[in-house]
């Protein structure tokens, strides 16, 4: 009788380990299959881009595509920088200084993702003929969000400032985004 019991537990242990191994294999396989849906190598290869802004005059802006989204690059005039820096933090919905949003020594250039933080529309303001909103920055026509010249939300339903992507100056006029 005792032998029988021992036998049974041994059998159960063997069966159990087989089932557990099967389970581990199945989970690993499923994760492998699911990971095929993450961004592929060709997508990742375009995850960072380089932009030459040598041709950009103060007051001009350029829009480039990065990871399927528009990125606004604006070379600001001295007056615009002063305007952006002159705003009190208390007046901001998403408080952030202009210095936090630009690179020191390169304050002239503002680089932001051109996607409204409300529901993903592309704000107006890149072209000279565009409506710039109440704060002379960008204006989202979808639900009326107003951004200032630092890309910060000043009025309207958007909860956050325009996102500043990870970027760096490779040379004086060559920006690497991403």
């Amino acid at each position: 009788m005792a032998e029988q019991v021992q036998d049974d537990s041994k059998r159960d242990f063997l069966a159990l380990s087989a089932y557990v191994t099967l389970g581990v294999g199945t989970v690993a396989g499923t994760l492998g299959i699911l990971s095929s849906l993450t961004p592929s190598a060709d997508v990742l290869a375009l995850a960072s881009i380089e932009v030459d802004v040598a041709a950009l005059e103060p007051g001009q802006a350029v829009t480039v595509m990065w990871r399927g989204k528009p990125v606004f690059i604006r070379r600001r005039t001295a007056a615009q920088i002063d305007e952006a820096r002159g705003v009190a933090l208390g007046a901001l919905k998403d408080p952030q200084t202009d210095a936090d949003r630009t690179i020191e020594g390169k304050e002239e250039y503002l680089v932001v993702v051109g996607v409204c933080t409300h529901l993903g529309c592309v704000p107006k303001g890149q072209k000279d003929s565009d409506v710039r909103g109440d704060f002379n920055g960008w204006y989202c026509p979808c639900h009326g969000s107003h951004y200032d010249i630092s890309g910060r939300i000043r009025k309207g339903p958007a909860p956050k400032n325009l996102e500043v992507p990870e970027y760096a100056f490779l040379s004086d006029t060559n920006i690497k985004i991403g």
Binding site: A18, G32, I33, S35, S36, L37, T38, S40, A41, D42
Partner: protein, 416 residues
Amino acid sequence: MSQGNQYKGFAGWLEKRLPIISPADHFFNHYPTPRNLNYFWNFGAIAGLLMGLMILTGLVLAMQYNPSTLHAFDSVERIMRDVNYGWLLRYLHMNGASFFFIAVYIHIFRGIYYGSYKGQREVLWILGVVILLLMMAIAFMGYSLVWGNMSFWGVTVITNLFGAIPVVGDTLVTWLWGGFSVDNPTLNRFFVLHFLLPFVLLAVVGLHVLALHQVGSNNPLGIDMKGPQDSISFHPYFTMEKLFFIGAFFTIYFLVVFFAPNMMGEAINYEPANPLSTPEHIVPEWYFLPFYAILRSIPDKLGGVIAMGGAIVILALLPWLDRSPIRAARFRPIFQVMVFIFVIACIILGFVGAQVPADPFTIYGVEVFFGWSVLTVGQIFTAAYFGFFVLLPFVPLFERPRKMPRSIAEAIDGHA
């Protein structure tokens, strides 16, 4: 209605509201299985599992594939190069088709050898033939999606077969293509059907299993179970055995996927489809070779198509062609020899289908059959293939069955 009461907790709660626990319980725990099943009885489960894997890998591949003649080949290469584990999914899917057919062919030969189409199993068997036909259609269309040069010419040649049908042939082929040659419309509809039909297959497999559980499993003796002494529970006995077999089979499958993934494929299919250049030697995938050999053995276009189609359809008639009341070939000396010849004929036809008709027939470079041409050998074994079915009704007239045990229990316990 009181059935729900035998399950406790959540199972009981659910069973009262949705009767899915009791059938599952019945399938696994109360499905009496003959005690004497041998290893051949594992290939159905293996095929089922492979079908699941094919649907799963196919689903994620379809999310990356682009069914347009301009992008199909590129998108497959993108899967192979850029998609995370894309190469693995593609190789699993591509070789999975081959191993699915290996499992199913063994399953079919097992059914024939042990007379598994007898004893109220006609519907079960016919559903099996439907599964085979569906598999062939799905595999054929799947192969075309790669849009390599063999894909393109394979589709061209096979769809042209329908042109052999009198009167409507040409119209039918144009309709199939959606144009005047195999082109974008063809690829698009093949993609849609290659995606859809596996789910139809899944449903037919469901019916196949349902029919099996209605009649019960056949067994190597071909004697019905007469009582509990002849049977054991499916779980854990056969679940465990199947688990082991699945492990062994998949080890071989993975061996091919990881170390020789292109072994069963055609090199030329890594060249994009080119409507201006036919490959020198058009060969279908290996699992079609016996049928392709039968097609080429008949010197007439329509005759060849009829023979090829007939070779599959005639399987469905087996329950009526075989008039012997005895199932298992081991008790039927003539039938036993016939089945062996039939299996050998299928394998040789496989070799025939891969070779150029006018060349002398070889197996791995060795000339067998006295240097006869591939065509001649093909015709002889096509005759053998159909001969099996033609002679079958007459076998009981000559055959003296061997002595059979009275029951499964007697056969086992008598020797034990």
